[in-house]
């Protein structure tokens, strides 16, 4: 196949050998962990900043503005300048805040995003952890973030923060169901929870097309629920600027606020990456059944490019939601989940099972 030259597993394997020849096994592990950790941190910082910039440009386009243009070429350095500003700002803590929890909360939110990043397959062989319960793991750790939000709201000792945190709790716990169930639909189709296997089995056609209508429904539900889980778009009740000033992070300033801010964008990336991995073939190129020449050309585009192109496409969709729709009310958000998405999802799972049982899929 054409994209073997883009396979990262050989490279990582060689790196591992190179380290093992020169150091003890313990040292090798520590060095490898450090490399992985540093590269993830760099990725989060840089990609997060890029997403903030992208959001500002996208929203400017929707609102007939130009967005940042002054700092750097096309305003590319604007977010870096903003980040430096946030780093240098004073950290203000409310007098009656719970010191320990208040300081802990941003880290929990950040840790949850890092945990979920660990299993994302960026390209063939470019995946830190590849276990057989990959999807299960992602849904599990992505809910850890809500603890951080709840703690932030509780420990700030601010009524707006508390309302925001409670909303966020109710919302994320509900939408977690939809996210998991829509993923279950695809697990039925794929027959595996291992992310690398899921990507590999989309070689010929992506699951979005393979599973016919049930897949499509699952994809739409995943997008809606995923947006809700990242506290974004029409579901940003936890922040709800016009109602709760800034919701759960009202009392945070400087770098601690930046943590929440960055985590929101990285969560958006994770949701998009999951949507891409599970529904849109991950890093797999676009293939059409019998168009051989077309498929070969597509194969020449590196998988990393494919992955990020798809992810950015989904991120653009999520941004589009945010800049078009008004915010839902808290009871409407729960109604949407429990009265519409959940029953549709359950029926959808039965439909998908029928499709798989009758081998109706492509």
């Amino acid at each position: 196949m054409g994209f073997n030259i883009y396979d990262f597993s050989g490279m990582t394997h060689n790196m591992h050998l190179w380290f093992s020849e020169r150091m003890s096994p313990t040292a090798t592990t520590i060095v490898e962990w450090t490399i992985i950790g540093v590269s993830y941190m760099l990725f989060v910082a840089l990609f997060g900043l890029f997403l903030v910039y992208a959001e500002r440009k996208v929203c400017a386009a929707f609102q007939q503005r130009l967005g940042p243009t002054r700092v750097g070429f096309w305003g590319l350095l604007q977010t870096i300048a903003d980040f430096i500003k946030l780093l240098m700002k004073e950290l203000i803590m409310p007098k009656s805040a719970d010191r320990f929890l208040y300081n802990l909360a941003p880290f929990i939110v950040m840790i949850a995003t890092f945990l979920a990043m660990a299993v994302l397959p960026f390209a063939k062989g470019l995946q830190t952890l590849d276990f057989d319960i990959g999807i299960f793991y992602v849904t599990a750790v992505s809910s850890v973030g809500v603890i951080g939000i709840l703690l932030a709201g509780w420990s700030s000792n601010n009524k707006y923060s508390l309302i925001g945190a409670m909303r966020s709790g109710a919302q994320i716990l509900s939408y977690e169901l939809s996210v998991s169930l829509s993923l279950v639909t695809i697990i039925i189709l794929a027959g595996s929870m291992q992310l690398s296997v899921i990507v590999e089995s989309q070689r010929d056609s992506w699951f979005l097309f393979k599973g016919h209508i049930p897949s499509l429904i699952a994809f739409v539900i995943f997008l809606i629920a995923g947006t809700a889980e990242t506290n974004r778009g029409p579901f940003d009740l936890a922040e709800a600027e016009s109602e709760l000033t800034a919701g759960f992070h009202t009392e945070y300033s400087g770098i601690k606020f930046a943590f929440f801010f960055l985590a929101e964008y990285i969560n958006m990336f994770i949701v998009s990456a999951m949507a891409v991995t599970v529904f849109l073939g991950g890093w797999m190129p676009l293939h059409f059944g019998s168009f051989e020449s077309f498929n070969v050309v597509m194969d020449f585009i590196p998988p990393l490019v494919w992955f990020f192109m798809k992810v950015l496409g989904v991120i653009f969709l999520i941004m589009w939601f945010k800049w078009t729709f008004p915010r839902l009310r808290v009871d409407q958000i729960l109604t949407l989940e429990w009265k519409y998405l959940l029953p549709i999802n359950l029926i959808n799972i039965i439909l998908m099972s029928l499709v798989v049982l009758t081998k109706f899929h492509l």
Binding site: C59, F62, Q63, Q64, R65, K159, Y160, I163, M166, R167, P234, D236, L237, A240, E241, S242, E243, L244, T245, W323, T324, F325, P326, R327, L328, R329, V330, D331, Q332
Partner: protein
């Protein structure tokens, strides 16, 4: 176990306390320095107590120390979005007191400027309404169109918001030669842009869910609390001063007073959108027929009102605005009282929002279209 059973048995006796939240004076959706003392139970609003006065500037008292023409310049600092209507109200009041007949041209210009102000105000209201509900893009759509009106204002009298254009006896300057053309261009343009407003916000399912059957205000309550303007008309209270006590060129034009009896947030929203259409209609009737003549009558250097009480009301973008002047025959007024629409509208908020969620409170407050200096004066 027995303890838990006991708690469950007496669960009706456990009351979680209501808590107070101070919305404002610094809050993104109070649009200024309004403070609402909101009593909440969880998300549900039980009682709202507005506290006003954070931007009180003593305009009524100041008026007693200055001459009549100078009063004009204070009035557009109150409801800065209906600045021209406020100016006109004082001008009309003084003219009526002195029994001065202004030229026809002045009436036409004033009415056109009134309606342009109303459009600009409603556009800004629409921006902010969307923003309060979390649809941030509306803000830029509205401001984009409002800019054209402000440009016209700037060309006419040099100011964009605090116009100071109407003075006793007429208007301060004649209209710019470009005025008619620019207004007509704007109408043509805005007629195309108005459907965009509906596409972006009115037709949105989430928006309709958020506003329909929320914040009901009955006709009786609307009258009892003196809720005027589109907010009152949404409850079926026919209170359009332009219809009931026509002033300036309003007797000469055909327009409809938009009324509805549903009384919910969505109705108040819809009526304002319809009012924008009506305003365009009114301007269209007048803009080609501005008669030739003077733009002001010559007034005395020192304006002295005869002894007595004078009242004049006009319809601003927010509702009925009244000017009450008591004169003792000197060159400055003895007492001036402004009846501002925002003040009366605000205090009906408790009637509308109690029992709804805190998110609805923001939406309801938004449809009242409050301008805080108008409330505090």
């Amino acid at each position: 176990m027995s303890e838990i059973k006991e708690i469950i048995m007496h669960s009706d006796k456990i009351h979680t306390d209501e808590y107070l939240v101070n919305m404002g004076p610094q809050h993104p959706s109070t649009h200024g320095v309004l403070r609402l003392l909101v009593r909440l139970e969880g998300e549900i609003v039980h009682n709202i107590q507005p506290h006003v006065g954070y931007i009180h500037s003593g305009i009524e008292k100041m008026c007693e120390a200055i001459s009549y023409p100078q009063v004009i310049h204070l009035t557009d600092r109150m409801d800065y979005l209906s600045a021209h209507m406020n100016n006109e109200a004082v001008a009309l009041c003084i003219e009526n007191a002195l029994q001065v007949e202004v030229p026809e041209r002045v009436k036409y210009i004033r009415t056109i400027m009134d309606e342009l102000s109303r459009l600009a105000s409603h556009q800004l209201w629409w921006c902010v309404m969307g923003m309060d509900l979390g649809a941030l893009t509306t803000f830029f759509y509205g401001l984009r169109d409002r800019e054209h009106i402000l440009d016209i204002f700037e060309e006419t009298c040099g100011a964009r918001m605090t116009l100071n254009y109407s003075v006793p006896g007429g208007v301060m300057f004649d209209i710019h030669p470009n005025f008619q053309k620019r207004v007509k261009d704007f109408i043509k343009e805005f007629r195309k842009k108005l459907p965009e407003y509906d596409e972006l916000l009115t037709g949105n399912v989430i928006f309709q869910e958020r506003t329909k059957n929320i914040g009901y205000l009955s006709l009786e309550d609307a009258i009892a609390w003196g809720v005027t303007g589109p907010s009152g008309r949404g409850s079926g209270f026919s209170c359009d001063v332009r219809k009931h006590q026509p002033y300036s060129a309003y007797p000469l034009v055909q327009f409809e007073e938009k009324l509805d009896t549903k009384g919910d947030t969505f109705t108040r929203y819809r009526l304002r959108i319809e009012e924008m259409h009506e305003s365009l209609h009114i301007i269209e009737q007048l803009i080609d027929n501005i008669p030739e003549g003077d733009f002001a009558v010559k007034m005395k250097g020192v304006v002295k009102l005869p002894e007595g009480e004078f009242y004049q009301r006009v319809e601003t973008a927010r509702g009925e605005f009244g000017v009450y002047i008591v004169s003792d025959g000197k060159k400055n007024p003895y007492r001036v009282k402004f009846r501002s629409p925002g003040f009366s509208n605000l205090f009906a908020l408790n009637k509308m929002a109690a029992g709804h969620k805190i998110a609805d409170l923001v939406a309801i407050m938004s449809t009242l279209d409050l301008v805080i200096p108008d409330i505090d004066r």
